[in-house]
Each structure stands twice: as structure tokens, then as C-alpha cells.
Symmetry: D2
Subunit: 309 residues, 4 copies
């Protein structure tokens, strides 16, 4: 339909989730943002062309990897990561207007949030009953209903504000440093040029599950001077003890050291799934080991050509 | 009350869960088995001396590691694994007596079960609504209630039988090979002698998060001829990118090669948590590399002593 | 002078040495063969264009590396190896016609020959005096002089025949398997195409003499599936404990795995001296590790290009 | 005569060699020093109990390893190194009294000395003829004979002084930094306690000559934090391409990290020849990697014992 651009971006919803909050930190994304009820539905919507990209959580500094995301990217039809967002996990206790902290008897939240605020809740609401529901945003919605039996919700600030609730206490996570990492996922296309502080995500399937297989893979990185930021084993869903490895490596597809490591992995692995090269959210540039700059690689290639005489 | 021994064993309940089913495969366990509502509560009961040991799930060939178990063992007060149990994941669709497959409109189950039977449900109950609840056993209990709005539950056979439900379809998991691994956890005590087919579970904390740190750890195993069965990174809950590694190694504390590897790890790691040496459920004996038998280690030690002249 | 081609080949002489004998096994070499009094003089003659190539010994299975050759190639102006020759070391005891074994009182030979025939001489000529001179061929020449005080020479058959001596005993080396390896050395030029059973000779200078430096270098080969046939440390002539490594690797400059290893070495080493890719004398083809054929490398490069989208 | 102890020490002679000069730097050695005509004869005299110990050269910073010493220690009956001596190689040009530099027409010396002074001789005695003889000390003796046709000798100062020759030029080696390393060799006996700056010499025979065999051996050192000072391949005298490795490692048999590395080598090697732990002549203490002190090893062993419960 002329003049009306399609909705562009999706996120793991509903509105008011941390993922939603993370999406709003990406300034350049215009168009309507569409919530998806599950990571899988969001990723499928990208594959089906319903949205340009979707933001999903991939890792939490307390809970670890988000397996729904890791496995869907590893085993589903090709998708790539083009951006990452880091969001401090800041939980707020929200109640209906007029409810004071001392009045809270029933708290609703998501199991992860309950786990991450356990100590605070025990200390400040020792007599309250904590119930775990499907999402922190849904908890806020429920509490907003005057007929609800729940007095308060532990959720993201965006959710509390969306449902016009009153904040009773902010920053109630037991671990103040907790961070969740989200990735923006698109269909494969031209890889954006390197920024100098980039990350590349891969899934590596071992050719055989022999003892030194993981060592061999790590040496493919090490011998080219490529550092790893994250490594996580995931079952291949065949038999117990058969794993693949989800890996974030420092650097970009256009960095010679990473390119050579990728080719090495392609040769020694049963399969390598490339999930994108993209700018690091923390903008941290790698410490490049002596002999592994692009210039070093170019000089080596030039020397090799001269050897042919 | 004199002469009445206390209940000995706990499991991740409620009654009828797969963990309960796994517990019943351990013939030598006498005494009453006590269900615990969460992995954490079960493990705490062991620490508190309420039960002798508790059986909890640690890994699933489809879903991966059970993070509640992994993290509690890694970060909580010392516990050790003394047994492991492997249980094929066989889901059954149970209904109230008198309900036929074609009558099923509403299915209740646990999210993992829903995920693992998704294709079967889509093919055989395309019009049914699947609701996800807290446990497969609780789903069976709910369905057993004649007033329930749910017609059927996807659960373990033991749960269906416990609630006198009628099996409508057995073995409905999409992946027929799926297996869950459970571990029996006790307070630390004398380690049982090796059987020749043993496994040792460890949690390894890197001293510093430098690039080759994981490589260095893996070499501690490799240089002694110790193979790994499982390696899984877990966040240390400090900052994103700071991991520890949960590892199952082939062999027993009394195997010289494993003992030397353990000492090597103790030297290069910031911390090593020993979670027990115990018989492998699959009774698979390791392929021992040349030069790494106990006799080889003893011969080397004897040679070393002779060198002193 | 027009029409007269220059002499083409040199060898470590004088005429009648094992090197001369080795040169004669190379059928395709036409033109006059010129003896040089030392390895250094022969190699310099190639550099100066006086000869096309020179044959020099590089390694003996009993004595080890020929340091004059190794060091001249490593530190002198660029030269390359284009062929190798293996020659069983077969020493013969030659005397002037009319001399019987029992008459031999004085034996002349080269120190290496004396060392390699020590047991035989002690057993068969227990009363004879063995004098060590500059070359086995010169020993034969000396013995051929009727006025010589020496009765017999230990030398190569070619030398004895050249001076019309009588063989008293053949194959008198204590180690019947001893082999000397010779290399044909030329000025750098286009590298001949691979035969499938090739060898590449390198000299590797470590960037810094840190503990793991040699390990790092070996991993450059190992991570590409390149095997080594020979590795020999040589002092860099700076301070004690500062070494370079003379290495023969399986494969040819045109083998992708070797080419990538060479580039890796160029990046991690202070210097890499390429001393040629040439056919193995034993025609032994390498066992190529899975994932390291030229096709595997080409497939990896092609995959990498496709990743750019 | 009763009460007179036999001569104690031998050296690679004759009197006046650099080895003799090195021996005189060892203050504590009393008794008569006996020259031996070859390294092999000197080492055999130790084995036969004719002398307590013998000093022989093992390595030169310009020429490399002294193969006669390396091979005799590796393949002969057991001997151990108990001391090492480093001696700067300082060549002096000596002549008969009355001879001026400009009168020198004929120079006699040993081939190694000729090689190491080549540039100086070419620059300062361009017209002189240099003849190579059996030892620098013998050259001095010859020149001391007024009837000799040689005018000057290149030799150690001790030799020139012994034969009352006149120094014409000192420090004439082209490489002023050249150093020779000598070792004092005895029959095996109790190993002297560590000094904190020690070295251990080994010969390592690979079990099989597979590609990664050397890498595997180096990892036995690296995984225990043991650095190598010297590694040198030597042919095993069987077939070309079959090597053993002569190695100097930092540390002492009583250092836990070296002891464990030795046991590891004993397990993975076909054979390990222990040639002694002894104080480093340069008194350089090792940089000890984190986790590899004796205390770290003891703490690891103690931790391991506690794990048994």
C-alpha cells in the first residue's frame, strides 16, 4: 500500500519487557515495534519477512545463556546478528497508586526476577507471598487491574510506567551488576564494515567427539591470535554427551586473523554456523597480539607470493 | 520415635515426575522418598541433614544443562554427587478415563514437555490448545480432577498411573533418543572406590579471564590423558563474560592421571570445586591412552625416586 | 668463448668423495662437475654464478646435521634447495694392489669415517694405527702413492676405484643402515611444481626467546596439519641460549596447508628463511589429515567469501 | 705411596686447551688434572673409575652442540653432570719470542679457531697461510719449537703462556661474545641439593615418530611451568628422520614442577636419560609462573588428600 511502510522491528514482548526497554535504546530504529510472545515466534517472523529484524535476549550475567535463542539460531534457517544491546537488569517494585510498601501482601513477577530479587524481598517484604507468572510485563498488567488479588509487581521500569503504577522501590536486584545482553537478528545480507570493536558469533559442531576435539577448535582461534568473549556448550539434541559450541569471538569477518580462523574452523569442524559480525555494545577494542594485524597478514601473503620466484 | 529410621531420600518432585521415576530405578535406596518442590529446596535439605541424599536432574540431551542444579552445586555449600541415573525421556499423553484422543481439546503440561512433543501434538491434536504449567506431575493431578477444564496431560508414565489416568498415546516425544541425566547428591564424605568406569564432576574458576585460559585448563586434562564427557560454561554472576566451567571428566579421584590433573587444576585455577567421583550409569570404561595407567604413573614415580641416587 | 657452455655443477670434493658419488646418482645433470674444497666455497660459487648448482651434504643419520651447510644456508645470501639425494654410507677398505688385509699397519681416513668404522677396525685390524686426515678421497689419493707410509684407506668405493686401489673389505661401517643426505643448492628462482611427495626446508628465528616460543612455532605447523621431518636447533651466534631452528616440513609451497603455515610463521617469527620446496628422495607421500587437502582449503575460502553476503 | 689420593679430575686436553682453562676456574677442585686426548676417552675414564670427574665442552655459542659429548652422554653407560662452566672464547695470536706481527707468514691453529677468527686474520694477516691442526694447544706447542715452519698460533692464553710464547694480538675472535659451555661429568650418585638457580639435562627419546610427538613432549614441560634453556635434536643413529632430543630445563630434580614434568616425560617417552641437576653457571634464577612453586604443588597435594573425605 503506497506510502505506508511496513512495521520494521520486532521484540520479545509483551510491551514493557526488558527486551522492549532494550529496543528503545537503539535510536536509529524507526517504524512500529511489534511484540512477539516467544523468542521462536519473533525469529520466525524475521525468516518469514514479516519484520526486518527482531530483538531477543541471548545471555544474562546471572542466569547464563538464553537457550531458546541460542538453539533457534543454531538449528533454524539462517539468520544473522547485526547489533547487540547490553542492559543493566534493574528491577523495580511497582504497586497500584495508593498502596504503600507496608501494605504489600501479594507480589507477582517472572521466575527469573523472583530469583534475582530473592534477598531484597526476604528483607523488605518478609511476610509477602511471591507468585511467579509468565513475564514481568504481564505481572505489571495484572497488578494494574484494581480487581487483582496481587498488590505489587517486580518488573522493568518501562512496564510499571506503561501501566501507570507507582514505584515503591527501585534497583532491588540482589546483584546490582547484573546485565542482560540482547541481539538484533536479521536475515543474512551484506555484512556491515568493521568498526574496530567488533564481535563475531559462531556455532561450531565437532567432526567427531574425540577427547581433544574442543582443544583443537580453541587452537584454531589461538594460533591466529583471536580471543573468545564467550563459549557455551549446547547439546546437539542427538545423544547425551554430543555438544556443539556457541562462541563469540573478538573481531570481524574482515579482520584477517578472524577470517583465517574461520577457514580453519570450516576445515576441522563438521559444521560452522556463522551468526554475524557486529559492533560490540561496550565498544571495547581488542588487544591485538603481535603479528596478527591486517598489515601483518598482508605482509605475510605478500612474502609468500615472492617466494614463488 | 525409637527404632524408626528417618526418611532417607529426597527428589525433585512432586511425586510422578521424571525425577521420581528415575529414583525408582535405584534399587538399593530404602526408606521413604520425599519430594521437594524445587531443586534448591532438595539440595538444601541434604545440607541441613533432613535427608541423606537427593536426586535432581542435571542435564537433558535436548534442553542442555539444568542451571538450577549446576549453579546450586557450584556456588552453594559443599555437596557431592555419588550416583548418576540416565532415563530415556518418554512422554505419554494421559486423559481421564473415558476420554478418547479425538475428544482432547485442552492439554496441560510443563513447558519442556510441550517443547519436546511439539511436532507430535501438532500432527495428532492439531486443534487442541496446549497450556504450560509448573510440572508434568501437577498436570496429571489437575487432569485427574473431574472438574478440570483440561482433558489430557503430557507427563511421565508414573504420573499418569499415580492419578489413575488412561494412556492415549505413548512415546510421543519428537526425539525418541532424548535422555535426562539425574544425579544423587549427598554431603561430602569418603569417596567410594573406583569401579573402572567412573566419572568425576568439577567446577573450574579461571584465575584470570585471559584469552588462552580455557585452553590452559583443557591442557591440564589432555597432558595427563584425561578425557572430558561434558563441559559447560556458566556465568559467575559477576560481570558478563566472566565464566566458570562445569566439567565431567572420565575417571576417578583414585586414578593417578585424574589425581594429577586435579592437582594441576588446583594450581592454575582460581578455584576448583570437587563435586564427586562416582560410577558412570552407562558403565562405559575409558580408552586409556598409552602411558597413563596407574601402573605407568607408579613406574614414573618409582623411576623419579631412583634418580635421586 | 662462444659455443662452449660453462661448467654447470659443483660438489663438495675432492673427486671420489661420497658427495661426488651422490652427484653421480642424479642422471639428468649434464656438464662438467666441479669439486670444491669446502661446503662454503661450493655454496659461494653458486652465489657468484660460477656454477648453476652445487651438491653438499646436509645430514647424516649417525653424525647428525652438517653444520657448515646448515649455517651457510641460514646466514648467507639467499640460496634454495632444489633436489635431495640419499646415499647409504658404505665404507670400503682399499689398499694398494698387492697389499693383503693382514699386511695393513697404517690406515688413513676422515674422522667421521674412522668414527663410523671404529668397531670393524678394532675387530679386524686390531694392531693397525688409524690416522685421520681431511677427506676420505684425499686418503685414497695418498694411499695410491707408492711412497706413502699408509697401507690402506677407508673411503667410498668411487674414490678407491678412481685411484685404482684394491678393495680389501666392503661395507665395513658399524651401522649398516647409515645414510647421508645431500642437497642440490641453486640461486633462488621459480619453484618447481609439486610432485605430491615434497619437502620444504626453512630456518626459523624466534621473535623472543620466551619459554613457549618453540611450542608456538610448532603449533603453527600442527594447526594446519603440516608434519615435520626434521627439526634442529642451531645457535644464532649471538649469545648462548639463543637458537634458531632448521626445519624440514612435509609438503610444497603450493600446498595450501604449508602456504598458510608459512604465512603464520612469517607473522610469529622474527625471521623465516625459505630454503626451497623440492621432491623427497624417498618419494614418500604425506598422510594428509582430514580437512587439510588443497580442496578443503579452497572450500573454506569459498565459504568465507559467501559469508560476506 | 699410602695416604696420597689418586689424581681426581680429567679434562679434554692437551694441557693449554680452553677446557683446561675452564677447569682452572673451578677453585674447589684439588688434585692433579689429567688431560684426555678425546671427549670419549675422558668420559670413559670416569666410567672406569680412573678419575672422579672430567670436564668436557658441550656447547659453543657459535658452533653449536659438541656432538661427541652429547652422543656419548646419551648413548653410553650412565653419567651425570654436576657442574657447568661458561668461558668466553678469547683467542690470542701467539708467536715465538722475537717474531713481530708483520713477520707472520704461517699460522697454525684448530679448524674451529680458524673459523672464528677468519675475518681478523684476513684483515690483519692478509698474506699469511693458515693451517688447521688437531688442537689449539698442540698448535702452540708446535710453534714453540724453534725448528717449526709455523710462525704463530691462534690459541687460548693459557696455551701460549704454557709454551712461553709472545702474544701478538689478543681478543681476535670475530664474535667477541662467543662463549663455550663445559660440563663436569661424574658417575651417578646422590644429587646435590638445589641452589635456586639450577638446570637439569635430559635426553628424550620419542615413543613413536608421529607428527605431534615433539609438541607433546614440549607440553609436558609447559603444562608444569618448566622453561627450556636448550633443545637440540640428535639422530638416534637408526634411520634418517629418527631423532632424540637433548634438553636443558630450568630447575632441579627437587623442584616439584620439574619432578612432575619428569614423570610425565617418563610416561610419554620411549626413554628418558637423566643427565643431572646442577647449579647454573650464570646463577640466573628462573621466573616462576603463578601456580608452580613448591608450595603450590604441596598445597595441591594436600587439597587432593582432603578430597578423599
Amino acid at each position: 500500500m503506497p506510502g505506508v511502510p511496513p512495521a520494521q522491528y520486532g521484540y520479545f514482548g509483551p510491551a514493557g519487557t526488558f527486551t522492549h526497554q532494550a529496543l528503545m535504546t537503539l535510536p536509529a530504529l524507526h517504524g512500529e515495534a511489534i511484540p512477539f510472545a516467544s523468542v521462536g515466534q519473533g525469529l520466525q517472523a524475521v525468516r518469514d519477512g514479516e519484520v526486518t529484524a527482531v530483538l531477543v535476549p541471548i545471555e544474562n550475567s546471572v542466569e547464563g545463556g538464553v537457550t531458546a535463542t541460542l538453539d533457534n539460531l543454531a538449528y533454524g534457517d539462517p539468520l544473522v546478528i547485526t547489533r547487540e544491546v547490553l542492559l543493566p537488569v534493574q528491577f523495580t517494585l511497582f504497586a497500584r497508586p495508593g498502596t504503600a510498601l507496608r501494605d504489600v501482601r501479594q507480589v507477582l513477577t517472572h521466575p527469573h526476577a523472583a530469583a534475582q530479587c530473592r534477598d531484597w524481598l526476604a528483607a523488605h517484604l518478609p511476610g509477602a507471598l511471591v507468585t511467579e507468572g509468565g513475564s514481568t510485563a504481564a505481572a505489571a498488567a495484572e497488578v494494574a487491574d484494581p480487581a487483582s488479588r496481587y498488590d505489587a509487581a517486580v518488573c522493568a521500569r518501562v512496564a510499571g510506567e506503561m501501566y501507570r503504577l507507582t514505584p515503591l522501590a527501585e534497583g532491588i536486584a540482589d546483584n546490582a551488576e547484573a546485565v542482560t545482553r540482547f541481539v538484533l537478528v536479521s536475515r543474512p545480507g551484506p555484512v556491515a564494515p568493521p568498526t574496530g570493536a567488533d564481535k563475531t558469533t559462531l556455532v561450531l559442531f565437532l567432526r567427531e567427539d574425540h577427547p581433544g576435539a574442543l582443544l583443537e577448535i580453541l587452537e584454531q582461534f589461538a594460533s591466529r591470535g583471536v580471543n573468545l568473549c564467550r563459549i557455551e556448550s549446547r547439546p546437539t539434541k542427538r545423544t547425551l554427551g554430543d555438544y556443539c559450541f556457541s562462541v563469540d569471538a573478538e573481531g570481524h569477518l574482515d579482520d584477517a586473523r578472524l577470517a583465517e580462523a574461520l577457514m580453519g574452523l570450516h576445515r576441522v569442524c563438521a559444521d560452522v554456523v556463522f551468526l554475524g559480525s557486529y559492533p560490540r555494545a561496550d565498544q571495547q577494542r581488542p588487544v591485538i597480539r603481535v603479528g596478527t594485524t591486517n598489515d601483518d597478514y598482508a605482509a605475510a601473503a605478500s612474502w609468500l607470493r615472492r617466494l614463488h620466484g
